[in-house]
């Protein structure tokens, strides 16, 4: 791979911070035992202490107690554990509500539950990607057990008002789960202030190792385990604890600063501002105001996303697109379609996501590159001003 590559796909995964790796290393080579009981051997006791210290640090960052954090293998498992864990724990098959722009690990879990005979309602979103609050209220029933609505969207970065949602659900005695994979350590959540019952977090989006995440579960909330095995994680998640990864996760949590988040926001705003000023016929997808600091998602009309990403790749930039051509399923982004965009808007959408390792020069470079790429592709395109079908496909 090209060393000069400008990586702007940080919502997919971030580069591991070297300090995180350093913190993890002793737990591979020195204190590599499993977490044993305090009556066992020293190395196991030390490993357990390390695990608990990591747990404490991460829990504290959510305003939670350490007993309320279950380590998992990441977002997918945490979301599965939250949804299945709650729904399976009811005497009667209850009702579940999710938004239609959730990550696939929520959507496909919900669909799986539907197949098993649970009732699921899908809440729509408005043009910015905010859930329709009135629709949520209307869908709530006597037998509604759980509502799962993401804190922020993986593609368009729209942040939901979870305070408002949490309050509504608390009043009605319904459990609330939020997938905070893309907001964790970027936009604070304090569970001592916001009554959320379950929160999914992951290390891979904050320069931590892959393969570790966690589910915050309020201690009064009961769930069923979904994997059978040993009694680890308070008998809720079986399997040998991934102690090096947990330690790395805690280190990653510690390394994110308010200053870094400001820097991300500045890069994001600069990118959006310059693209909107310098390229015609573009649409910002998502909310201008309520948006995670690291995300910009823009549709370049009349051109197709896979061609943009391939041209950008050749010039040393990694970005992603909601185009069907890019995806393995050949289906256009359900998020862009969910916000009322048509297929054309999805096919031409590009997601730029920043991290600690990006800087202002990266923004300059990618703006220069994308201007050229879009210009060149529009020269070829049959659509738009350059093409012969002048503006046949209207802008939204």
């Amino acid at each position: 791979m090209n060393k000069e590559m400008v990586y702007l796909d940080n919502s997919a995964v971030t580069r591991l911070d070297k300090n995180v790796l350093k913190a993890m290393q002793p737990y591979f080579f020195d204190t590599y035992a499993v977490a044993t009981s305090e009556f066992a051997y020293t190395m196991g006791i030390e490993a357990k202490e390390a695990l608990n210290k990591a747990r404490m640090k991460i829990a504290e960052s959510l305003g939670a107690k350490k007993e309320e954090l279950i380590f998992t293998s990441g977002t997918t498992e945490s979301n599965n554990l939250a949804l299945k864990g709650i729904m399976y724990n009811q005497k009667e098959k209850g009702h579940l509500i999710v938004s239609e722009i959730e990550n696939f690990s929520v959507l496909n879990t919900a669909q799986r539950l539907e197949k098993e005979g649970y009732d699921v309602s899908y809440i729509g979103v408005d043009g910015e990607g905010k859930i329709k609050f009135e629709e949520l209220k209307a869908e709530i029933r006597e037998d509604t057990v759980l509502v799962s609505i993401q804190h922020a969207n993986q593609e368009i970065g729209t942040v939901q008002n979870i305070k408002k949602i949490a309050k509504l659900l608390k009043d009605k005695n319904i459990l609330f789960h939020t997938d905070a994979t893309h907001t964790f350590r970027r936009i604070p959540i304090d569970v001592s202030e916001v009554p959320v019952d379950l929160i999914t977090i992951s290390a891979h989006t904050i320069h931590g190792p892959r393969g570790i995440g966690a589910l915050f579960k309020k201690d009064s909330v009961k769930i069923q385990k979904i994997m059978n095995g040993g009694f680890q994680e308070n008998n809720l998640r079986a399997g040998v604890e991934n102690i090096p990864a947990a330690v790395g996760f805690a280190k990653a949590v510690e390394l994110i600063t308010e200053e870094e988040n400001k820097k991300l926001k500045n890069m994001r705003d600069k990118l959006i501002e310059r693209i909107e000023a310098e390229i015609d016929d573009v649409t910002l997808n998502g909310s201008r105001k309520d948006r995670i600091p690291q995300n910009a998602n823009i549709t370049f009309h009349y051109v197709e996303g896979e061609s943009i990403t391939l041209h950008l790749d050749m010039r040393g930039f990694a970005v992603s697109t909601g185009s069907a051509c890019f995806s393995k399923s050949l289906e256009a982004s359900h998020v862009i379609l969910g916000i009322g965009g048509d297929h054309v808007r999805a096919h031409g959408s590009i997601r730029f996501t920043f991290s600690r390792y990006n800087n202002d020069q990266d923004v300059e470079k990618v703006v220069t590159a994308i201007k050229e790429v879009v210009e060149n592709l529009r020269e070829i395109s049959p659509l738009g001003k350059k093409g012969s079908e002048k503006n046949e496909f209207s802008l939204q």
Partner: protein, 211 residues
């Protein structure tokens, strides 16, 4: 690095040939749709006396294989007779390009279809089609092979998306095995209409989806 695209595809993707429009073209075609994520437009100029393709230009809204196939097909057709050009197959185009990824078949077959359609357009406009065949189920099936199933990237017939075809009193009735509120339903309908509505002996085409 292991790219799914051959070097030649990348070359054409970066420097496509014969891009643009022809003023007063003799034949035009447009295959695919922006909704499916791929579209090719073709313009032809044919020498009336020799029936040779004098000039050919394309435009593409699509991915790399779409752009590359559009480019290679115009190069292959330029200077050849319309009868020769009609025979250019997707396989020949793919071979010229050093192969195409299987998953991208539907993006690349559009350019080949566009060439055939542009020639048909030229022939129709110039009264070169002598007999007008009646529309039979077989004819409908043949035309439906040019309608893509966006879910699989293959045509609607091969992917069993069409559950029934009937022709009754100059009306074609087509049942599509797709929910009526599926994200691709409007696109599939539009494509089917475009392929069949203009037939000389057809008054109406009715496309039904599952309720």
């Amino acid at each position: 690095m292991n790219s799914p695209y051959s070097d030649k595809v990348i070359q054409y993707f970066q420097n496509p040939k014969n891009v643009g429009d022809i003023e007063d073209p003799d034949g035009v075609a447009k295959e695919g749709s922006p909704a499916c994520g791929d579209m090719v437009q073709l313009h032809l100029k044919v020498d009336e006396k020799t029936q040779l393709i004098e000039d050919i230009k394309f435009r593409s809204y699509g991915c790399a294989s779409n752009i590359a196939t559009g480019s290679i097909i115009t190069e292959m057709a330029k200077g050849s007779s319309i009868d020769e050009a009609k025979e250019i197959s997707w396989q020949q185009a793919a071979d010229e390009l050093g192969g195409l990824p299987a998953v991208k078949n539907h993006c690349s077959v559009l350019a080949v279809d566009a060439l055939k359609e542009a020639i048909r357009d030229y022939e129709e406009k110039n009264g070169l089609i002598k007999e007008q065949l009646p529309t039979t189920i077989e004819v409908v099936k043949e035309r439906l092979k040019h309608v893509m199933n966006p879910i699989h990237g293959l045509d609607v017939l091969h992917t069993n998306l069409i559950s029934n075809i009937e022709i009754d009193n100059n009306i074609i009735l087509i049942d599509v095995d797709l929910d009526e509120d599926h994200q691709f339903a409007p696109v599939v309908k539009e494509d089917i209409l475009e392929k069949l509505e203009h037939r000389w002996d057809i008054k109406k085409v009715k496309v039904s989806f599952q309720k």
